[in-house]
Symmetry: C2
Subunit: 145 residues, 2 copies
């Protein structure tokens, strides 16, 4: 059982969530951080596209962006090419907040990966990335890709 990958990843994910949400405290939620990072990384874009890039449910994006906008970290503008979409962009306050959050996220991650060497950490990231990329094409949990 403790050799089954599915059981192992479940527990590592649990540990990871505990550490991250603990270090973020009440300030920010796990998904909020991911979305904010996504806005910064992928530039101004529609929230449907953003959700697909991040693997976040499109229905949940509404609440996440509402929170981030209320805190002044992102702005929702109108896309004049396509009036269905709104164009999400990061603000200066958002960039500042993101830098701080990235710090605490990396600290939590360091705690998670403490027993691994640098090479092992890179190995792990590489393996996980391979799996994610592969399944994003074959396992659509609706609305992804």
């Amino acid at each position: 059982l403790w050799c089954l990958t599915s059981w192992l990843v479940g527990h590592v994910d649990g540990d990871s969530r505990r550490l991250v949400t603990l270090s973020f405290g009440n300030s920010t939620d796990r998904t909020d951080f991911a979305v904010l990072a996504g806005v910064e990384q992928y530039g101004p874009l529609s929230q449907a596209l953003l959700g697909r890039r991040l693997g976040v449910n499109l229905g949940d994006m509404v609440a996440v962006l509402k929170r981030l906008e209320a805190r002044g970290l992102v702005v929702r503008g109108d896309d004049e090419q396509d009036r269905r979409r709104n164009s999400i962009g990061i603000t200066e306050a958002g960039k500042k907040a993101l830098i701080s959050l990235e710090g605490t996220a990396l600290a939590a991650q360091d705690e998670l990966l403490k027993p691994l060497s640098q090479e092992e950490r890179q190995q792990l990231v590489g393996l996980l990335q391979t799996l994610v990329k592969h399944h994003r094409n074959y396992l659509p949990p609706k609305d992804v890709r």
Copy 2:
């Protein structure tokens, strides 16, 4: 973001859960399978000890064992050394069911790990095991260890 281990493991765990619960269908629940496998592996033992070994919440063990017992896959006997405990053991029907479930679980896992070579799969298991072992000593989500 897609370099952050915490984000990656969350998605791999999601993919894994989808695959496993899909292949199990409505017959068996993810945790039920783990507990059944644990009973077979760790022999007759109390349900508190079993829950700790598997990292399953002790409160949840009640419902899981109730289901498994109702299906005749495990038996709850009395421990005569300590009358607080009940001694959980696997039945013949349980062993048979387990073998079948292991097959489908391994098939689902094979689907999950499809893009990885055999060596990479072992690497991944090794890395995850290291993380789990480490955090089970330092991150008690109550009642664990």
